[in-house]
């Protein structure tokens, strides 16, 4: 095959379309555009929140006003007009929804199209879903069944009313309200998200998941998720996201906090597929997310797995604070960028306790004119006796217009820590492509196959149901980049 064909094929690949870009036509209730204390009070009032939560929001907002938008090297974040955003949008309720079957059929249809049936009888087996539509949770499946084991799985807003004591204790305990620009903004204006509590000794029998959908125009989504795993409990949690195709950039600034007590294990998986913008870089979601887990108790474990294929800009560094002795933090990441997408992602592993260990496996794939950066920090304190870290960051480049960058930061104080970091950069070799083609596999499938192979160590970490979806997504996100 000649050069020209190869280039054509690259073009086809980069031109491929976002398949989740439809818009649901539904009547929505919104607050006026803009950000001020009145809006925050209004959101709080709409949600009928207790005073402590309003105080938390206002404290964060006032602090946010003193902060400036972060400027990062190799990441081009346009200035965002925070007064041009609608901070709250919810589907208009026709009546009080008492069971999932009473949800607006339009919304049910939306989730069905996305492959997430919400009706009780059709719900995905083995996965409980909390569906968040713009600013509110529209329904949670299996919550009754889970309730029988003492597991609380509901929307954040619901938890505020049913379990205010847990919210009060844990909200901001891992990501403080003054943590960073976007987390502080979220603390002021967050609307909904999922809440999950696994009681002592309970191993959650099914996967829990949240499916985030941005639908309304001009809105931002500011979700807040809190997962608490009590002593000896275990939970695996999945998160998925999509949004309609639009010319404007929409802001998604989420905060996720995980709290693991003694002997608890939390596995958190994300397949992020927000609308990435078109091939000229117009539109797409700005995804600024603060995710952090605290291994508070001894022998606890938090594992992050992410597949990031969407968004115009991804800015997230899911981290672990390894406070408990023998606690374990893991970060497995695949970030795929194409066209004009920018991904700046990585992790922070903070080793405080004895014998703590962390593993970081990051796979970045860039194609088109995209930017892909790994930015990660590993820190060991003198008390973190025998702390261990292993990091591996691999980049795969498809085409010569993209960039791949690796920015690890290693801070080690004290003599007993062992830290290892490795990074490589490679491209899909012509020999590999030719070999696969010689065996009858067409070039696009060959690329997908090689990329899947490159990402394998991370894909293996995903729960089965997600792994299949993620594999497909990798193929779709990169279709047409090579011939």
């Amino acid at each position: 095959m000649d050069k020209k064909k190869k280039e054509n094929s690259i073009e086809e690949f980069t031109n491929q379309e976002y398949k989740w870009g439809f818009h649901t036509d539904i009547e929505q209730e919104m607050v006026p555009k803009g950000l001020n204390e009145d809006i925050i009070r209004l959101i709080s009032k709409k949600k009928n929140e207790p005073q402590f939560l309003l105080d938390f929001r206002l404290k964060a907002y006032r602090h946010w006003l003193t902060m400036t938008q972060p400027h990062w090297s190799h990441l081009d974040i346009p200035r965002i007009d925070f007064n041009d955003i609608i901070y709250y949008a919810e589907p208009k309720k026709k009546k009080e929804v008492r069971s999932l079957d009473e949800i607006d059929p339009e919304i049910l249809e939306t989730y069905k199209k996305l492959g997430i049936p919400l009706e009780e009888q059709k719900a995905l087996s083995g996965i409980a879903v909390d569906a968040v539509f713009d600013s509110v949770s529209v329904g949670t499946t299996y919550s009754k069944m889970l309730g029988e084991q003492g597991i609380i799985f509901c929307s954040f807003s619901e938890a505020v009313h049913t379990h205010p004591e847990l919210i009060k204790e844990y909200l901001g305990s891992v990501v403080p309200w003054r943590d960073n620009y976007f987390a502080t903004l979220n603390s002021a204006v967050f609307t909904d998200g999922s809440f999950c509590y696994i009681p002592k000794g309970v191993k959650c029998p099914i996967e829990l998941s949240t499916y985030f959908r941005i639908n309304a125009k001009g809105t931002g989504q500011f979700e807040r998720t809190l997962i608490i795993a009590d002593e000896g409990s275990q939970v695996s949690y999945l998160e998925g996201c999509t949004a309609p195709q639009r010319d404007e950039n929409q802001l998604h600034a989420a905060v996720v906090e995980l709290f693991a007590h003694k002997d608890a294990k939390i596995k958190y998986s994300t397949v992020q597929n927000w609308y990435p913008g078109d091939k000229n870089g117009v539109g797409g979601i700005f995804n600024f997310v603060t995710k952090r887990g605290k291994c508070d108790g001894d022998n606890s474990k938090i594992s992050w797995t992410q597949v990031e294929t969407g968004s115009a800009i991804t800015w997230k560094y899911p981290g672990c604070i390894l406070k408990g002795d023998n606690s374990i933090g893991e970060f497995y990441s695949i970030a795929v960028t194409n066209n004009h997408q920018q991904a700046d992602t990585g992790t922070k592993m903070i080793h405080l306790g004895k014998n703590t260990s962390s593993t970081i496996i990051s796979k970045g794939v860039s194609a088109g004119k995209a930017q892909n950066s790994y930015r990660g920090m590993v820190r060991t304190s003198p008390n973190a006796i025998n702390a261990r870290n292993f990091s591996q960051c691999d980049s795969l480049l498809i085409g010569d217009q993209c960039g791949a960058h690796t920015f690890p930061y290693i801070d080690s104080k004290g003599s007993t820590a062992t830290i290892e970091h490795e990074a490589t950069t490679s491209k899909i070799s012509d020999q590999q492509l030719f070999y696969l083609q010689q065996r009858g596999i067409d070039p696009e499938d060959a690329v997908t196959m090689i990329v899947n192979g490159f990402c394998k160590e991370v894909l293996n970490e995903l729960p089965m149901e997600f792994a299949v979806e993620a594999r497909k997504l990798l193929g779709v996100s990169l279709e047409g980049t090579v011939g």
């Binding site: 090297s73 190799h74 060991t380 003198p382 980049s395 480049l397 498809i398 085409g399 010569d400 217009q401 993209c402 960039g403 791949a404 960058h405 690796t406 920015f407 690890p408 930061y409 290693i410 801070d411 080690s412 104080k413 004290g414 003599s415 007993t416 820590a417 062992t418 830290i419 290892e420 970091h421 490795e422 990074a423 490589t424 950069t425 490679s426 491209k427």
Partner: protein, 421 residues
């Protein structure tokens, strides 16, 4: 008096001459007035705290008219030598093969004016700007195809007893097409008061030129030493350097290497032996601007006492620089729980057909290995030393100037004796 927190004024050259570097210096001063020195919040300087050196009022070092006899050293017999004292050219004993120029002749002034800033202006920042404002007696070493046969020993010394001196030595090294040079550059000074040696060395390598560069930073424990090296490489040229850092209270090695044309090679290795409260920063940037270039960086540290090493490596592969091959290795050995290291092996890649990798490790002496050696009769101290020597061996072995490699190896192993408590 010069206070680095405040504005500075440039020192003119001796007024005898019409100063052709006036404009260059004025430009440097202008740049410095904009950049100043980095504060604590500037990226890459956050972990390297230079506050102590800003708190001192310095006296601009002046030419020492009748320098005291310096002590003979082990390089004397085997090397040609050039001495820079307080930033001024002092004695030179060089054979054939080099041409040395200073501003004391008109021809020298012209040559220097023609080359100064060639390697540094595009890349340099804070301390480069400071040097460009205050340098006093620039030295140009030019090497042509006629070889000297002996390595060149370039000694930068600061001498002052009661005052805190600031000196800004400026050196330009030009290795012409198809020529080569072996250079040993050492930094030292008297131990009375703290001083700041802010040295800039610009290296310009012609086509197929080769420079073997050994750098020894062995200043007094009160000194602040900033060694700023800018290298600009032409097609097929080779730059190899090995750096040993054992002195100074606060020190920084900045290497900025531009692989500007095809088939350049560069290989840097350094070893920091940290003790007491030493703070060292090594910042290496390699610009892969052209295709088919190779770079290798090995940065090692053995940190004892309360010492801290801040290491940053940055390989930047420009668009179109296909077949770039860049490898960075960072390895640190921490000897106790009061020392620390920060490592940032960064890669920025804009070309797809490249081989780039980096690795970083932090560890300590392996207790199993220590025990094994002791079981075989080594004392704990001997066992530690054996393992430290093994850790540093590849840097020690990489010394590219055969005539001096044994001297330097011996020096490395001797310095290790001071490291463990």
């Amino acid at each position: 008096m010069i206070n680095l927190n405040k504005e500075i004024t440039a020192t003119p050259l001796p007024p005898l001459f019409d100063d052709p570097l006036k404009d260059f210096r004025a430009a440097g001063l202008k740049r410095y007035s904009l950049s100043g020195l980095p504060g604590k919040k500037v990226e890459h300087w956050m972990k390297f705290d230079i506050t102590p050196l800003k708190e001192i009022s310095y006296t601009q070092a002046v030419k020492v008219e009748k320098p005291l006899n310096r002590n003979a050293n082990s390089f004397d017999e085997i090397c040609d030598r050039v001495e820079m004292l307080n930033g001024f050219i002092d004695t030179t004993t060089v054979g054939k093969g080099y041409s040395l120029s200073s501003v004391s002749t008109e021809k020298g002034r012209e040559k220097i004016a023609g080359l100064i800033g060639t390697a540094g202006d595009e890349r340099g920042n804070y301390f480069y700007n400071l040097n460009s404002s205050l340098f006093s007696d620039p030295l140009l070493i030019s090497v042509g195809p006629e070889q000297s046969g002996k390595p060149l020993y370039l000694s930068e010394r600061i001498s002052g007893e009661d005052e805190s001196l600031i000196a800004n030595p400026r050196i330009i090294i030009e290795v012409q097409e198809n020529s080569s040079l072996e250079l040993i550059q050492s930094f030292s000074g008297s131990s009375g008061s703290p001083y700041l040696n802010n040295s800039v060395t610009e290296i310009i390598l012609g086509k197929n030129a080769k420079l073997e560069h050994v750098i020894l930073l062995e200043d007094s424990h009160k000194a602040f030493v900033f060694n700023n090296i800018f290298v600009k490489q032409s097609e097929g040229s080779v730059y190899n350097s090995q750096t040993l850092i054992s002195g100074a209270s606060i020190s920084r090695n900045e290497y900025d290497i531009t692989l500007g044309e095809e088939n350049c090679e560069t290989s840097l290795s350094s070893l920091f032996l940290g003790k007491e409260n030493q703070l060292h920063n090594s910042d290496i940037t390699i610009h892969h601007d052209a295709p088919h270039c190779t770079s290798r960086t090995t940065t090692k540290a053995i940190a004892g006492g309360n010492s801290q090493g801040v290491f940053r490596g940055f390989a930047l592969v420009k668009k179109g620089a296909q077949k770039s091959d860049a490898v960075q290795q960072f390895k640190s050995l921490l000897l106790n729980d009061t020392c620390q290291v920060n490592m940032e092996p960064h890669l920025e890649i804009w070309a797809d057909d490249v081989k780039c990798s980096h690795g970083a490790t932090v560890g300590q002496l392996d207790p199993n290995q220590l025990f094994y050696l002791q079981q075989r009769g080594f004392s704990p101290e001997e066992a530690k030393k054996v393992l430290m020597e093994a850790f540093a061996a590849d840097v020690a072995e990489s010394i590219g100037i055969d005539l001096v490699s044994d001297i330097i190896k011996t020096r490395i192993y001797r310095l290790m004796d001071d490291l463990y408590e």
